[in-house]
């Protein structure tokens, strides 16, 4: 009787918890996100550096026109396989405001590794004016800030379609079923061959979206691979330690029971 009672409660809890899991892949009420295969998912998963580099190319050529990446520095690019020299060249490709100098004036200079990514607009107001009143959010932690993470980014970037009958799309808005309100202020940005990849990968819209999602995943948490690698060591240690403690406990208690 008690046994069955307990197993029912545990089963209920287990079902409930797995509901919680599936809930995580929904963008918002009722809309299921297509799930992609990600090299970085799971404890053994690691960021695919070549893919993240392609994603950086997408960000740099397209997204960076509207979206800032305020929390990331150019040096972070070393974590996806760019060499020190490559990063220096990338950083030097932007102009950064510095100062004031001895004359009390601000001046522009080429970027260095420790600079944060430069932002496209001076402030939020300027960003809104350029985008029909919509504010392009900072993308630094975007992957962590939405249910579904990388899957959501990919779905959103490829989710543009003709609005179904009955849905009115205001001027300057676009229909996108994965966006919470259904109409988004960002036009479709990624099409087949929007990018010419340096490594020769075929640039379909889906490929570009996935690549930029991987790059943003890395930027959202540059230490994620390190975290998982440390986790495996810690858990292996704890398993061995638990075994030892259990053996000691058994031996000690042998004459007590």
């Amino acid at each position: 009787m008690m046994r069955t009672m307990k197993s029912i409660i545990f089963a209920a809890a287990a079902v409930a918890v797995s509901f919680g899991f599936t809930g995580a892949t929904k963008a918002h009420e009722g809309i299921e996100l297509p799930e992609q295969a990600w090299a970085q998912s799971g404890p053994m998963g690691r960021i695919d550096k070549a893919q993240a580099q392609r994603g950086f190319q997408v960000y740099k050529e397209i997204c960076s026109n509207c979206h800032s990446l305020n929390l990331a520095s150019y040096r972070n690019l070393k974590g996806i396989g760019f060499t020190e020299d490559q990063v220096k060249v990338i950083a030097a490709g932007v102009q950064v405001q510095d100062g004031p100098n001895d004359q009390g004036e601000m001046f522009m200079r080429p970027g260095i590794q420790s600079d944060r990514f430069v932002k496209p607009f001076a402030n939020d107001k300027a960003a809104r004016v350029a985008n029909n009143g919509a504010l392009p959010p900072d993308l630094s932690v975007m992957v962590k800030a939405r249910h579904g993470g990388e899957d959501y980014i990919t779905a959103l970037l490829t989710g543009y379609a003709e609005a179904p009958a009955g849905v009115s799309v205001p001027d300057g808005k676009y229909y996108n079923k994965y966006f919470a309100s259904g109409t988004i202020g960002m036009p479709q940005m990624l099409f087949d061959d929007s990018i010419t990849y340096a490594d020769g990968t075929k640039a379909t819209a889906l490929q570009e979206s996935k690549d930029v999602a991987v790059f943003l995943s890395y930027i959202a948490e540059p230490t994620q691979d390190e975290r998982k690698a440390l986790g495996i060591k810690v858990i292996l240690f704890l398993i061995v330690f638990s075994g030892l403690m259990y053996a000691c406990k058994r031996q000690l208690w042998a004459d007590v029971h």
Partner: protein, 422 residues
């Protein structure tokens, strides 16, 4: 000028101990202290709670060295810790996840107490101090959640502080006073940081009282029968220390799985969006360990009523030792009460789900039924069950139960038919 007659051989220790007998105290409390020999692994959760409290304090102090309690800087300073501080990501994720695992351990600890009647005479004060610890934990957890200054931080702070506005006349002035202004803003964040730093040390103080009281009565055990002689107990060290070490290690494995592989699983994505007073999240939810209380709050259609019921739901635990009229502690001997207990446990989980879901349709009905059962369990079931349920026969002592039960500590086998095995 008499000194305390210390028994320690080491001259330095002896010299100190004779003047300040802390070594004798520790020896008495953690080496010779007698534990019932039949305690099971549920008795490790108090110590696990202690381990996590220490973890919270250690990681918290290190985080505070880098964190900035200013509305313009707080969010970025947390990200600075995650990105630029050596192993800052580890500190921050440890603090966030250990908080949840602290609550988990204490929930097991509390339900252990409910099941084995550990709150009954003579342990009423241990229990009441425990409830105080739990209240302090809730306050600390809530204050800490506000610090990263994400959307959930800001809106949780707004919703929870606003509860006080439900009280007539004094309500609004109290809220303004709590905020230090006319909305949740920089002064609020500043004081929340100061209090979040302070509370754990108050908590630590109450834990010490909790333990002082425990060391007068000694620990309860699965049979709920007091120790009657040396054959019933084992010294704390090495028997319980080794058992606790094993329990720590297993608990830490579970903790590590979350910490290293899904550190944000128990968090909410909206808290990675910087706080914005102009945008209300579509669905404001507290951390999972507050969900049952949140469900009770929203089950009552009236704001004042909900607030009062929510506080009452926690405070009813204070008088529990007097609500339970049974003379027998452990539910092992009370099958009917046991059934009510497991329904109560399920009810708390159900309330958790009600708290996680939007308050409409079936969830409102479930939350109301859940709230009724919650209070009925304490206010109706326990007083009546104690009077009317006839407990099964109990063994004369812990040692007898163990010897006659064929070596197993498992109380069911040992005591269900004490006559047959005799």
């Amino acid at each position: 000028m008499a000194l305390y007659p210390s028994k320690f051989k080491n001259p330095l220790i002896n010299w100190i101990d004779a003047r300040l007998p802390i070594f004798t105290l520790m020896h008495h409390e953690y080496i010779e202290f007698q534990m019932p020999r039949n305690v099971n692994y549920l008795w490790a959760f108090g110590a696990i709670g202690m381990l996590l409290l220490m973890t919270m304090i250690a990681t918290g102090i290190m985080l505070a060295m880098q964190y900035t309690p200013n509305t313009l800087l707080a969010f970025d300073s947390v990200e600075h810790i995650m990105r630029d501080v050596n192993y800052g990501w580890l500190l921050r994720y440890m603090h966030a996840n250990a908080g949840a695992f602290f609550f988990l351990a204490i929930y097991v600890h509390i339900f252990r107490g409910l099941y084995y009647g550990s709150y009954q005479k003579p342990r009423e004060l241990i229990w009441i101090l425990g409830v105080l610890i739990y209240l302090l934990m809730m306050a600390t957890g809530f204050l800490g959640y506000v610090l990263p200054w994400g959307q959930m931080s800001f809106w949780a702070a707004t919703v929870i502080t606003n509860l006080f506005s439900a009280f007539p006349v004094v309500g609004d002035p109290i809220v303004t006073w709590l905020w230090g202004g006319f909305s949740v803003d920089n002064p609020t964040l500043n004081r929340f940081f100061a209090l979040h730093y302070l509370m754990p040390f108050v908590l630590l103080g109450v834990v010490l009282l909790h333990l002082s009281a425990l060391h007068i009565t000694g620990s309860n055990n699965p049979l709920g029968i007091e120790i009657k002689g040396p054959q019933d107990s084992v010294p704390f060290h090495p028997y319980v220390t080794i058992k606790d070490l094993f329990a720590f290690s297993v608990y830490l494995i579970l903790f590590s799985v979350f910490l290293f592989f899904m550190p944000n699983y128990m968090g909410h994505p909206d808290n990675y969006i910087p706080a914005n007073a102009l945008v209300t999240p579509s669905h404001i939810v507290p951390e999972w360990y507050f969900l049952p209380w949140y469900a009770i709050l929203r089950a009552i259609p009236d704001k004042l009523g909900g607030t009062v019921m929510m506080f009452a739901a926690v405070l009813v635990l204070v008088v529990l030792p007097w609500l339970d009229t049974s003379k027998v502690k452990s539910l092992v001997f009370k099958p009917v009460s046991r059934l009510f207990f497991w329904v109560f446990a399920a009810d708390c989980i159900l309330l958790g789900f009600c708290g996680a879901n939007p308050p409409d349709g079936i969830w409102v009905v479930a939350a109301r039924l859940g709230t009724i059962y919650y209070f009925a369990y304490f206010l109706v079931a326990l007083p009546l069950l104690g009077k009317f349920e006839r407990p099964r026969p109990r063994p004369a002592s812990i040692a007898e139960a163990i010897l006659k039960g064929g070596g197993s500590v498992h109380a069911h086998a040992a005591t269900a038919q004490p006559m047959e095995k005799a």
